[in-house]
Amino acid sequence: MDWLDWLLLVARIVLVFFGLLISVLLYIWFERKVIADLQTRKGPMRAGPRGILVTLADGIKLFFKEGIVPTNADRRVYLLAPVLAMFPGFLAFSTIPFGTGTTLFGRKIPFQLVDLDIGILWVLAMTSIAVYGVVLAGWASGSNYPLLGAVRSTAQMISYEVAMGLSLVAVLMYSGHLSFSEIVAAQDRVWNVVPMFPAFVVYLICGIAETNRPPFDLAEAETELVAGFHTEYSGITFAMFFLGEYVSTVTVAAIGVTLFLGGWRGPAPDFLPALWPFLWFLLKVTLVIYLFVLIRGTLPRVRYDRLMAFGWKVLIPFGLVWVLITGAIVVLPAELELDRGTVLTWAAIALGATLLLSFLPIGRSQRREEVPR
């Protein structure tokens, strides 16, 4: 490593940080515009052309706002919590390959900050740290609404984390690698979303629940809890929670693209070979985010008891069964000397049967327990 390597490393890190910040600016604008469209409004129009700078204006405004630390709050933890909520999104994103890479000054530049050989585990660890931000914020505020919001949110996040882990295990079993670059490399013929479609659906649902996005935004159910765990926050600390939430959402979309949708893979012409994979990656992430926004704009908030029941009675049992089915898909072809396609067809039939069996008793028991107390 000489000075040029160090310089390139710093430049890469700074570029990824800026890229994420800009993607959050655009994402919030995009979300507001799409939701405005769904509600036949125009959405933000004032700051910049078609209101594209509205998030920047909001962010700058938050810098000028007084940061209040209530007398009842535990000051140090209160200030630490937003930082803990913001970090994991960035750290998880650092392992994601967003292009093939290029050569600059005679050195190979991969479009990926670091290719950890434990990629999937790293992502799970980071999503776990995000829970700390929420629970510490609620506890340190010394106030009832944040505490209730934090406790709710923690139970929700850890429940859906289990199901998310199970869906990631299935991907790991199918591709046989933990590192993201190897997983993308293994998707050169068929994207993982085709054989692993149920895991993809489970991943998307859990991703929305993990980042506290609607319809799973029970942590900040405005009508019940004011703003949930960040009720007492203002100014820059509030901005950090907001930034953290949106960076996590971008990261969840990017992980979904990498694991299930082939990452940066896509048809590319010979002209500018480094550019096209990056554009494909951007396009896919934008599409996944568009899906998140559509879900937010169309579905009402889920009731809390239904949320937990859905996590523990549907997603987790289903995840467990799917892990075993994936095991059969991977091992059976070698045992029976069939190809994976035939085994997949049988797996689809088995899956249909399991779904039927698992949905019948739940329908009955839910009618009995309809009234929450």
Partner: protein, 121 residues
Amino acid sequence: MPDYYSSYGVVLAVVAAGAILVAVAFTAAKLIAPHRPLPAKLTTYECGIDPVGEGWSQSQIRYYVFGFLFVIFDVEAVFLFPWARVFESLGWAAVVEMGIFIAILATGLLYAWRKGVVRWA
């Protein structure tokens, strides 16, 4: 081996970059944001009325049970990851063994389910 450490070095660099971002944000806010604390401003927020209680209210025991269930299933996931990495070379027997392991845990979940732990009432 040097590769192994250098990749985690990059992770450390990302942490440092994040720390710089946070430090810059806090310093900038300190420099330009007003700071005029008033007793009324610093009270706990409860929709404008005077706050009731000391803020750390009791919450339902149910959340705690979910914490327990989470620990059980997260430990299970920890066992699943190394197995998932190598089971292809171990063949059919490894899948059946993991099926037995998952079945034992699923029985636990079923027990909690029958006990009404997952039910919100």
